[in-house]
Symmetry: none
Subunit: 144 residues, 2 copies
DNA sequence: GTTCTTCTCGGCGATTTTCGCCAAAAGTAT
DNA sequence: ATACTTTTGGCGAAAATCGCCGAGAAGAAC
């Protein structure tokens, strides 16, 4: 289970060191892809395989699933974690997520998300304001 | 069953000693996360597992459940209780709950809550004023 | 084909941060 | 008063982060 929030810096070669708490769980081979809400999703290779197979089940029949497949698959790269725990972000993904010097890694279930620090802060404050309302819903489901 | 209210101090390294009454029940491995009403929730790892599995059932299809998942999961950390019974609070959680020098631990069912002392006092006095009204409600449900 | 330039990528190592442990202080019970 | 538990401060070892250097590949110019 991936958890927590960690801030790191992108070096001038587009490398970012993966938070050490995540390293054991994600392993050496990962896939980075377009995420939802202007961030990147980073999956351990094993998790990615599950997602890819689910995507393939969607088929290419409908225009919108075709689009989503392209979004996720064409937008993905396989990457290695180097000896000191860093990953290299390709330019097109860096641009997509608007990554600047400071980025935030967040652990969510089986994936890591990578956010522009500013975007993350804005997103978070928006979410926190809605938290009470959400909690009511979740009470109904039995989370609390 | 966790019960009671204890005041402790945060040291300059963001450590707080867990009230000794809670230690046996929460164990050595815990998860701390965003709570509701500006406090933190602290769960024994076992309790957390239940919550996390319920959250994962929500999926990430809808924007608002995606948000709540991030609130709870990215807003959480797994932590160890150290040899002397202390826990380390990450900066982002300390900030979220507005923790200053004095904090209050409260036991509520299966979780411990961590409050800024001032916020707790205000919250408590607000609640106490409503106590009569609450009692009526509870009478209706058959608690008393 | 050879040489020179550019870019990528791995790794070293200094600085900073984290974390476990010891021990003083404060509080409780006998 | 004494022994025991709990709380909290602080030191020091270990680990993580991140800037920097340089080896090697790829490519361009001659």
């Amino acid at each position: 289970m991936l958890l927590g929030e960690y801030t790191h810096t992108v070096d001038e070669k587009n490398r970012i060191s993966l938070p050490s708490k995540f390293r054991k769980e994600v392993g050496k081979k990962i896939v980075i892809t377009h995420g939802l809400d202007t961030c990147l999703f980073l999956y351990p290779l094993k998790e990615w395989a599950k997602i890819a197979s689910k995507l393939s089940e969607l088929g290419m029949g409908q225009a919108d699933t075709r689009g989503f497949n392209r979004f996720m698959l064409a937008g993905a790269v396989e990457a290695d974690v180097d000896g000191t725990g860093r990953i290299l972000i390709p330019d097109f993904l860096k641009e997509f997520a608007d990554l600047k010097n400071k980025v935030v890694f967040t652990g969510v279930h089986n994936r890591v998300e990578i956010w522009n620090e500013k975007n993350w802060k804005e997103y978070k404050s928006r979410i926190e304001k809605q938290a009470d309302r959400m909690a009511e819903k979740l009470g109904e489901i039995g989370v609390f």
